[in-house]
């Protein structure tokens, strides 16, 4: 079971978009080291916005967030430090199309961590091996299938040796037959003790891997429970409605 040392600590996070939309209304969440938290909720509920505040891709106007003991503030050095500790996997993969798979993996470690290219390439090949696509290292992202691209994206995040991985609907843009291969990689990561926050609708993954499931609705956390309770005996009416819709 996860230890109790908090990796992410969010307190009363409020976010308004420039058009006045109140996206987050006082959200609290604490994620321990080694814990896998799945965030669910209908579209527009603020779940993506919420995890994007963790690595400062979204600003927030009130409340506080600290990641691995570093407080998120407007101080750019803190933001850069947090981004080095947190990897993010996007719905649309966002691989760099002008670089080969191997170059995609090596770019940030060489530029940001100032590591030697040869050494990073060795590590990158190991990671590609781990996600099962080492033979594609010399290809460009456009030559790979969606599932392969998303596995490259996961390996790219891992190459920075992050302490936390954020997943923003990692399987939503995939053809159904490719969802499984990505989820397998994520399960293996969870088994290795990686701290993960995952926005997803994959019930099977949540049931099997998550330590905790969080349901968001209209910018608030409605329910927070271990999966065996969340899926069988949800406490709130809103959760029952949501589960009825996606089951």
């Amino acid at each position: 079971m996860p230890a109790s040392q908090p990796m992410i600590e969010a307190r009363g996070v409020e976010k308004w978009y420039p058009n006045g939309f109140h996206a987050l209304r006082g959200v609290d969440l604490s994620v321990s080291k080694g814990e896998v938290v799945v965030i669910m909720g209908p579209s527009g509920s603020g779940k993506s916005t919420f995890i994007r505040t963790f690595n400062a891709l979204e600003e927030f106007q009130a409340g506080s967030i600290s990641v691995d003991g570093i407080a998120l503030s407007n101080d750019l050095r803190n933001i850069d430090a947090i981004r080095c500790e947190t990897g993010m996997v996007f719905q649309q993969f966002n691989l760099f199309p002008h670089l080969t798979v191997l170059q995609n993996l090596c770019l940030a470690p060489v530029l940001v961590r100032k590591r030697r290219r040869a050494e990073v390439e060795g590590q990158a090949m190991g990671l590609l091996e781990r996600v099962g696509i080492a033979e594609q290292a010399g290809k460009y992202p456009g030559q790979l299938s969606g599932g392969q691209q998303q596995r490259v994206a996961i390996a790219r995040s891992l190459c920075m040796e992050p302490r936390i991985l954020l997943f923003d609907e990692p399987t939503s843009a995939l053809d159904p037959e490719m969802v499984g291969e990505v989820l397998e990689v994520m399960k293996a990561l969870a088994a290795d003790g990686m701290t993960m926050v995952v926005v997803t609708h994959e019930m099977g993954f949540a049931r099997e891997v998550a330590h905790r499931v969080v349901l968001m609705s209209e910018g608030r956390i409605v329910e927070e429970a271990p999966p065996e309770i969340f899926f069988t005996n949800p406490q709130h009416e809103r959760s029952r409605q949501f589960l009825a819709q996606i089951l």
Binding site: R83, N94, F96, H98, L107, L111, V112, K139, R156
Partner: protein, 403 residues
């Protein structure tokens, strides 16, 4: 067999139906009539002596005779650099993936080059020593192309990464050779002319306007209001004014506007106006390129810890510039053609030289010969730019299409 299939495909393409056949026959007749007329004029009536007698004037204007060895040296160096780069490019295939040392295109290029070297100096009735010089220069280029191709194969690509550096160095050296200094006699810009001046103006403006345009495009997307509004003001002002008015304006005010020594005379003032003009259009092309890179690219780069300049340099700009390349080169091609406007402010570039030649009583009424030569010269330069751009595009294409 081959002739048969050619005939068959011709029949299929041109004479498929009665209507097609009529249209094709009519068009072919028109084309043939025009071609026969042109050829009859070119080889019968036209008096090419107006070109033959003025080759030096068309090439370099009134550049002092006793200093022209410097230009010959520069042409020889250019041939060397071209041969070297060409050979190394083929020895280290990247984007084009063919890996052949002598692809068909190159053999065609060599044939064209050899033909031009044999034909053009003779047709222009150059003195024999000058003809020999051109042959020597071509031989130099081809020899180096051959040698570099073989040498490049046997050396690691890392070593060859430094080779492109010879071009900026050569450009600086060329400026010294042309204008003097460092122990060479000064040749003031007022004595440059003809093709030399055209190429100099165009190349300077192209090289300087590209970074300017990229900076302005980034400025226009900047979050700093002063930078953004400054860029918008600059781009919209330049794009809203005809080049010819800017050229006249530049002659009058650039002397005060630019820091001392940058625009000392009319030639350099015109060069800066061309640069600023082209820069505004390049900025718009680059802005379109930047806009077409999905926001997720920047987000992914930032989420990996790259700083804003790092993500621009390594992620966003490489993609944006590749997309902006065709439009940018299109701008460069119009810029090259726009250099003819310099004749209106009294500079003796190609068109200005042509006008002085046509005003010479010895060559009255030889306008058609002169203008045709000019058109062909400009077409060659623009075609070269276009070919280069397409080759670069292919080389930068990371084979997006799924294999």
């Amino acid at each position: 067999m081959a002739a048969n299939s050619l005939l068959a495909s011709l029949r299929r393409e041109l004479f498929a139906s009665r209507g097609d056949a009529l249209l094709s026959a009519g068009l072919l007749a028109l084309i043939a009539a025009a071609a026969i007329g042109l050829l009859r004029w070119a080889f019968g009536q036209a008096q090419w002596v107006v070109i033959q007698a003025n080759t030096t004037l068309f090439a370099v204007g009134r550049y002092p005779l006793d200093q022209q060895w410097r230009l010959w040296l520069l042409v020889a160096l250019l041939a060397l650099a071209t041969g070297l780069s060409w050979g190394l490019l083929r020895a280290n295939p990247r984007g084009d993936r063919s890996g052949v040392l002598w692809p068909a295109n190159d053999r065609i290029a060599v044939a064209v080059l050899a033909f031009l070297t044999a034909w053009a100096p003779a047709a222009l009735r150059l003195a024999l020593p000058l003809q020999l010089r051109w042959w020597g220069i071509t031989a130099l280029l081809l020899a180096l192309r051959w040698a570099a191709g073989r040498w490049g194969r046997r050396h690691p690509p890392q070593l060859l990464r430094w080779v492109p550096l010879i071009w900026p160095l050569l450009y600086l050296l060329g400026m010294v050779l042309i204008s003097g200094g460092l122990g060479l006699i000064r040749v003031p810009p007022s004595e440059w002319g003809g093709l030399l001046l055209t190429v100099l103006m165009a190349s300077f403006a192209i090289l300087a306007s590209f970074p300017l345009g990229v900076l302005m495009a980034l400025g226009r997307r900047s979050e700093l209001p002063l930078l953004r509004w400054g860029s918008v003001l600059y781009i919209e002002f330049i794009r809203g004014a005809p080049l010819i008015t800017l050229l006249f304006l530049g002659q009058n005010i650039l002397g005060f506007l630019l820091p001392g020594g940058l625009a000392p005379d009319r030639v350099w003032r015109a060069a800066w106006v061309l640069t600023f003009f082209c820069g505004a259009y390049v900025a718009e092309a680059v802005r379109a390129g930047l806009a077409s890179v999905p926001g997720g690219q920047q987000e992914a780069a930032r989420s990996l810890g790259l700083s804003v300049p790092q993500s621009l340099q390594h992620v966003v700009l490489p993609q944006a510039l590749r997309i902006a390349l065709p439009a940018t080169v299109g701008q460069f091609i119009s810029l090259l053609q726009d250099t003819t406007l310099l004749s209106l402010i009294g500079l003796l570039e190609l068109l200005g030289t042509a006008r002085t030649v046509m005003a010479n009583p010895d060559f009255l009424g030889k306008n058609a010969e002169v203008y045709l030569t000019l058109a062909v010269l400009f077409w060659c330069c623009c075609a070269a730019l276009g070919l280069g751009s397409r080759a670069l595009e292919r080389r930068l294409d990371p084979s997006h299409s799924p294999a």
